[in-house]
Amino acid sequence: MKPFTYVRAGSPAEAIGAFQDGAAYLGGGTNLVDLMRLGVTAPAHVIDVTGAVSDEITARESGGLTIGAGVRNTDLASHPLVRERYPMLARAVLTGASGQIRNAATVGGNLLQRTRCPYFQDVTMPCNKRSPGSGCQAMAPGADTEHLAILGHSPFCAATHPSDLAVALTALNARVHVASPADVGQSAGPDNSRWIEMPGLHRLPGGVPEQDTVLKPGELITEVELPPPSGASQAPARQTYRKVRERASFAFALVSVAALLDVGPDGLVRDCRIALGGVAHAPWRAHAAERVLLGAPPATAAFAGAAEAELRYARPLPGNEYKVALARNLITSVLEELTP
């Protein structure tokens, strides 16, 4: 590991003030420290931001929640209001990693964790994300593509985003508050901060797979805001998160689905949100599937049609074709589970 300077920041302004070329923000460290040990990343300066951002969850008057970026995953998943109002979020976090890692990992760090693509993590392999311009080993004949993307990838990168939390936040229409360096310019408001809607924090790889998100250098996630739960307060929309993986616990998603279904008094779908994990460079909001279902009767045939409408755009790599059928079946099955 390359030597680095270390500083603890007491506020977002202090963190941003300490930021410079070659610096990295440190949350719980469960991904960053590992990547430094693997040689995938080698920051010259580490800025500990666990004391710079809130570690509290607060109820908002609107009925929504504000979640500090420093909240540990364990505390997020066990919070009474998260369990009661946003069960898909609690379930998503609980399916991620292990008890030890959830105790350390923060909300901000979870969202900004890097892909577990085997070629990104192996410094002996070409990887456009780790080393721009070096090529993408996932595109080579015989490559191990089992965990890679089927949607939205480019010839330069087929990595998937590994966060479960991000998939739930994408389905919940969360927004992420970001503190920005003063020179970031037009996108930041007068107080040098901005909001980023989910989906929208993570980007598709295109020709610049080294950029996981739309964040600019030095920008710091300070909190996540959840809108009030969908549906009437007496009968909130049903929601859940289901994750398929190679073993029953402590593994990344092959495919996951965060879904919410609200059926109106007329028996037709009034609100429907579907987000997929494990299939793309970003959490994948299934807008095409949602459009098919809105106003339709909630029935298996409609669910299957909606899933098909979304997966029509899938372009599996040689070796991960299985994910298309898995995603299609998982969407259908989860929506059946949510049908009143």
Binding site: D34, L38, V46, S78, P87, G99, Q100, I101, A104, S249
Partner: protein, 176 residues
């Protein structure tokens, strides 16, 4: 060492204050093992995947291999050495003996620290059906909550039995 890359820190280890200068790159695990002589926490994978390095930091079980020592300035760390000692074992250590919950023993310090931390962690798990209530710690719940600790000898069945025997009766769901 260039002082820009090292930091003076103070932490409490098994109840005793320790002041050390650490290379900023040093993990809590290497600090404990290489500098403080506490070799109970084991270096299995060094990537947070096996749990052999599990210690309790400020009351929570964590992977010591992924924790930077410099980021734990001021923290209170408990290792297996602080859990019990010969003649005065922690109840979970006695349960591990009684249930034959290990073979080679390499993962055992991490299993024990993880179990101690797990028993005080609130809320549901990934296998909990109803998120509203804190579920009883059934064997299925224990397996899920202990999934961050691997045992290559495969002593899982007895590890689960040992932990189940030490679950407070109020949390077993027995009689409910």
């Amino acid at each position: 060492m260039d002082s820009a890359y090292a930091t003076d820190i103070t932490l409490t280890v098994n109840g005793e204050p320790r002041a050390v200068q650490v290379d900023n790159r040093m993990s809590v695990l290497d600090l404990l093992r290489e500098r403080l002589g506490l070799t109970g926490p084991k270096k299995g994978c060094d990537h947070g995947q096996c749990g052999a390095c599990t210690v309790i930091a400020d009351g929570r079980r964590v992977n010591a291999c992924l924790a930077l020592a410099v980021a734990h300035d001021g923290a209170s760390i408990q290792t297996i050495e602080g859990l019990g000692e010969p003649g005065d074992l922690h109840p979970l250590q006695r349960a591990f003996l009684r249930h034959d919950a290990f073979q080679c023993g390499y993962c055992t310090p991490g299993q024990l620290c993880s179990a101690v931390g797990m028993l005080t962690e609130p809320g549901p798990s990934a296998v909990t059906a109803d998120l509203a209530a804190d579920p009883p710690l059934t064997p299925g719940e224990i397996r899920e909550r202990m999934s961050g600790n691997l045992c290559r000898c495969g002593a899982y069945v007895n590890i689960v039995a040992a932990i189940a025997a030490e679950v407070p009766k109020s949390a077993t769901g027995a009689g409910t």
